[in-house]
């Protein structure tokens, strides 16, 4: 990137700048005439010619050659114009002035829009170049970068540069044009006016920039301080655990406050200085205006100047500070922008960027023979080398385990093979070619890599699988972008030096994994999920997610599925373990509120926890005998809760159990005291509502207070019927009522099939119900839809919706998804107990072996060295040197005990999982 901002702008916007200059030059004469015209209006039609009756006539549109008198000695009239009397002349001149004003305005509009467009292009180019560079940072370096800082620079810091880019060349041109025109005009009116103005302008040009120099320095300081603060905030948030664990939140506060203070005082000085400069500038310009009145007035009085010329001069002078101070501002902006620019880009100006060709070159291929390391050495940050003089081969089709002491050297070697670190000596070759020279389009598509990292991008499970196949746009998409047409977008991207890849195109490379189209891909995804041990996890996610059943696969079978399940239950004696939803019966496993609702709320006002305060329900309650019964129930619940809570002030436990905050408990206690004070047990209206709200959440099998009487159940059923009648006519319906014959999109798949709730505390019974539901889905051939629903599960930011183990399996699956020629497993799957790791590794190895003609090579540094025995070949490293290489039976016997020591199982005292 060019270090000089003006040059950078010029290099990328030359044609636009030239065009803008042309437009500005063309606009100048019009500006001049708009200054000239008021004078003519006053001197012409308004004053008239006193020597003639009625003021005489004037010429309209007479064109004379400027300065002709001085050059050739006499006025040169180019066009005679029209002879008009005073009033028509006034009208004509005013109309002309109006046209000129409109024209000037239009020029401004055009120029401003054009400037905006140009600066956006440059900005877009800059941002893209920065992003492009980040993507080409050496991986190890990119990890060191503070992500918040980089994002901040690209997003915010370059933004203010846009103002300057538009002005960079056109600004001074336009302004100096205006200033020169104004100045010329003044000179033409009176030589003294011109000279006077010149002197003042010169003074301005000398003094003001001097005063402003410090402003630029301050701006720079402010920028650095703000940026390090952004970095620090990012750092604190990343380590938020530590902040809480070590009670360093106040230290963090102090740190941030200190930085905020720095910014304040920098800005304070900045403001003081800025407004001082403004004050001096204004003073200079305004005091000059007095001179105009004084000197101009004198000339008018002595008759050397006509009043029209003075008025026009003053008008021109009033317009002059704009361009002049604009020019001074421009120079300051230029310096500030240069500083800002250098500051923004310097982090991106590295010499060790990967060559752009490594990523741009589209040279997919296969790894035929495999890897070879030659005298390979890798060290990290100048420390002792962790690998030295390693020469080994890894052939496609063979499976190799690495066992290393210290383990870091094995990790580093595999990172080297995956290009995550660069060798410090020696080289890594793939099919005889140096790895460093191979494009990522080759290695990124045929090398799969999974390590202990658990980061995943956000998106659906399906996206996580498919993303690794998105290397190049494969098929054009018919979809038009929201803003701007596709062609306009592409042209604009080209103008800003961006690549013209269409993000909306279909990027998925189906052919590479042997799938013909999208639907076909799910077979491959399923196979990969099975191999990575993720299939069950995805199905569990699916069965417990609501299904937006677009294909209608499950919807159309819902009645059949429910009937089958009932039959299943009847046959296996599970009937008593499930309480089905029955619109004519009270559902014991649900809260009172859920029983009234008997459906899924579509409008939050009908959420069970809000139901007590819902006006429709309140109306129904007021007319129902349920009200008194619910108040009674609420009172019992309140009494039991306060009894359990006792006088203990340690309420954390209680809160987790009942979901009531200490404040609520206090309120309830006070309410009970109020009620008990009344001799007749009268309860205030507000307290009644409070008690109903408490009662609404009551579930007999959970709360076990023995309060769900027959009359109460009947009363609730009455309410249910009343509510349904009331809501029948409401559109859109606020509640989707449970219906035996329809699929409820707001229930999960399992809930839909079960259409009821588990009503047993028999653990084995619960498991049997779950498996019966699965069985029915499989019988009806709906299991595929469950898997598909699981693929639609949103994993959330960083994949936080999945467990650590699932995320590690997902990363393994992503490596397998591309059908790699070489699969690298670098301490992958560490979240699992050793036995599970072994099973997963066996799964992967079996999967590879089953590809008889096209077997990938697998190289693995297992978390538990004992698993090395699963591989065909084992390589031992000690202190960074290769010491043994051969069949596991031969090599493992020679490894010392320390090397084969089992790592600690996850979930031990030291690392209790969240």
């Amino acid at each position: 990137m060019q270090r000089n901002f003006l040059k950078y702008i010029w290099a990328n916007t030359k044609p636009y700048q030239i065009w803008m200059a042309v437009v500005i030059l063309v606009s100048m004469p019009f500006y001049f005439f708009s200054l000239e015209l008021p004078k003519r209006i006053i001197n012409g039609p308004i004053q008239g010619d006193p020597s003639q009756v009625g003021g005489g006539t004037g010429r309209y549109f007479e064109v004379t050659l400027p300065f002709a008198e001085r050059i050739v000695g006499q006025p040169l009239v180019l066009f005679q114009g029209f002879e008009l009397s005073r009033l028509p002349l006034l009208l004509a001149l005013c109309a002309t002035l109006l046209v000129l004003i409109i024209l000037n305005g239009w020029f401004k509009l055009y120029i401003n829009t054009f400037k905006g467009k140009t600066s956006e292009r440059v900005l877009r180019r800059m941002r893209y170049e920065m992003l492009d560079r980040v993507l080409r940072f050496p991986v190890a370096e990119a990890r060191q970068v503070k992500s918040a800082e980089v994002a901040g620079i690209i997003k915010d810091e370059v933004e203010p540069l846009a103002d300057f880019i538009g002005e960079s060349y056109s600004g001074p041109l336009f302004l100096s044009g205006q200033a020169i025109t104004g100045l010329t005009f003044l000179f033409l009116q009176n030589i003294w006016f011109g000279l006077l103005t010149m002197v003042i302008v010169t003074v301005q040009f000398v003094i003001i920039p001097m005063l402003r120099r410090r402003l630029i320095e301050l701006g720079k300081e402010r920028q650095i301080t703000a940026r390090t603060m952004a970095g620090r905030i990012g750092e604190i948030l990343q380590g938020i655990d530590d902040v809480h664990l070590n009670d360093t939140s106040n230290y963090a506060r102090a740190d941030l406050t200190h930085r905020l203070g720095d910014i304040f005082f920098i800005r304070l000085e900045l403001f003081k200085r800025k407004y001082l400069v403004k004050f001096i500038n204004n003073l200079l310009m305004q005091s000059l205006a007095i001179l105009f009145y004084l000197i101009g007035g004198y000339f008018v009085i002595v008759g050397q100047l006509d009043i029209g010329a003075l008025v026009a001069s003053i008008a021109a002078y009033k317009d002059l500070p704009g361009p002049i101070s604009g020019l001074i501002n421009w120079d300051q902006q230029r310096q500030m922008a240069q500083v800002r620019y250098i500051h923004a880009i310097e982090g991106f100006l590295r010499d060790d960027l990967e060559p752009a060709s490594l990523q741009s070159e589209d040279r997919p291929g296969r790894i035929e023979t495999g890897y070879e390391a030659r005298q390979l050495g890798i060290r990290v940050d100048g420390a002792q080398p962790l690998l030295e003089g390693v020469s080994m081969q890894l052939k496609r089709g063979e499976t190799v385990a690495l066992v290393a002491k210290p383990t870091e050297s094995g990790v580093l070697l595999l990172q080297g093979l995956a290009r995550l670190v660069d060798p410090t000596s020696g080289r890594i070759q793939v099919d005889g070619a140096d790895l460093r020279g191979l494009p990522e389009s080759l290695t990124g598509r045929v090398v799969g890599y999974a390590d202990s990292n658990t980061f995943l991008p956000s998106g659906k499970v399906r996206d996580l699988f498919v993303e690794v196949l998105k290397n190049r746009p494969m098929r054009e998409s018919a979809a038009e972008p929201d803003r701007g047409s596709k062609t306009a977008r592409e042209a604009e991207a080209r103008r800003a030096g961006n690549p013209t890849f269409d993000f909306l195109a279909d990027w998925t490379d189906y052919e590479r994994v042997g799938a013909a189209f999208e639907e076909d891909l799910i077979d491959h995804i399923e196979a990969v999920a099975r191999c990575a041990g993720l299939y069950e996890d995805i199905c569990v996610l699916g069965i417990n997610s609501p299904l937006h059943d677009e294909t209608g696969a499950i919807t159309s079978h819902i009645v059949e599925a429910r009937e089958r399940l009932r039959a299943h239950f009847a046959a296996s004696g599970l009937e008593a373990y499930v309480e089905p939803f029955d619109s004519h019966r009270y559902h014991m496993q649900s809260t009172v509120a859920e029983n009234i609702l008997f459906g899924m709320p579509l409008d939050p006002a009908f959420d069970p926890q809000n139901l007590a305060h819902n006006p429709a329900v309140a109306d129904l309650l007021a007319a129902s005998r349920a009200r008194a019964l619910l108040i009674e129930l609420g009172l019992e619940v309140a009494r039991t809760f306060t009894e359990m809570f006792g006088s203990d002030s340690d309420s954390a436990l209680f809160e987790t159990v009942t979901g009531l905050t200490p404040e609520r408990i206090d309120q309830i206690r006070q309410m009970l005291a109020r009620i008990d004070r009344e001799a007749d047990g009268a309860i205030e209206r507000e307290d009644e509502d409070e008690l109903i709200a408490l009662a609404m959440n009551y579930v007999e099998p959970r709360d076990r207070f023995g309060l769900m009487s027959e009359p109460l159940q009947e009363a609730v059923l009455e309410l249910r019927r009343g509510l349904h009648r009331h809501l029948e006519s409401v559109t859109p319906p606020p509640v989707a009522f449970y219906d035996e014959a329809t699929y409820s999109p707001s229930l999960t798949i399992a809930e839909n099939i079960l259409f009821g709730r588990v009503a047993t505390n028999l653990v084995g019974g619960r498991a049997r119900i779950t498996s019966a539901v699965r069985e029915v889905l499989k019988e009806l051939d709906l299991w595929r839809a469950v898997f598909a629903a699981g693929l639609d599960f949103e994993v959330g930011t960083g994949g936080k919706g999945l467990t650590d183990g699932q995320r590690q399996k997902m990363r393994l699956a992503r490596a397998l998804m591309k059908k790699p020629d070489i699969l690298i497993l670098n301490h992958a799957l560490g979240a699992f107990p050793s036995g599970d790791q072994k099973a997963l590794l066996e799964g992967v190895l079996d999967g590879a072996r089953s590809q008889s003609d096209d077997r990938p090579g697998i190289i693995c540094a297992p978390v538990d060295p004992a698993h090395a025995a699963l591989f065909e070949r084992v390589v031992l490293f000690e202190d960074g040197r290769l010491i043994e290489d051969g069949a596991p039976s031969a090599v493992l016997g020679r490894a010392d005990a320390e090397m084969l020591e089992k790592p600690r199982e996850p979930g031990t005292v030291a690392e209790v999982r969240e």
Partner: protein, 161 residues
């Protein structure tokens, strides 16, 4: 369906919980989940990482060791026994596998509530210490016995050589 009051009354008869005031006992029962198992059902497995404590309300449970590949019952816990407390106290994975012996009804007490209970009731803490100490006595005597047996085996072997 038993009511909360019945459960509290039942817990009250158990020496273990007799010292806890009734409100707190009610809270404990309320916070805990009542679970049933059928003969042979696994309650938890050795190595699993969850830390709830179980109290046998009805029936019995076996402590099982599976290290050798086959399951060997190493202890039998009768009604009103507490198990799973090691994981609750020490945050370690399960140290043994538990299996229902006949129909079993347990109260599953979440770890935080269990710890909270002990913190708030020294009498209860004392009860638990007593139980743990008795177990230690048993284990020690078992160990002594096993050692003695091992010695005698060793002696026999050397004698015959």
């Amino acid at each position: 369906m038993t009511s909360l009051n019945d459960e509290v009354a039942l817990l009250r008869t158990v020496p273990f919980f007799s010292s806890i005031d009734s409100g707190r006992l009610k809270l404990l029962a309320y916070a805990s989940e009542k679970l049933a198992f059928e003969d042979g059902d696994l309650i938890f497995r050795k190595g699993e990482a969850e830390n709830d404590t179980f109290f046998i309300l009805d029936g019995a449970a076996d402590v099982v060791d599976e290290t050798g590949g086959e399951a060997i019952t190493i202890a039998h816990l009768p009604r009103y026994s507490l198990f799973g407390e090691i994981s609750a106290f020490c945050n370690v994975p399960r140290t043994a596998t538990m299996r229902a012996s006949g129909h079993l009804m347990v109260l599953r007490i979440p770890q935080e509530h269990f710890i909270d209970l002990i913190r708030s009731s020294p009498a209860m803490a004392l009860q638990i210490i007593r139980v743990l100490a008795l177990r230690l006595v048993d284990t020690t005597s078992d160990l002594v016995a096993a050692r003695a047996e091992g010695h005698s085996v060793h002696n026999d072997a050397s004698g015959s050589a």
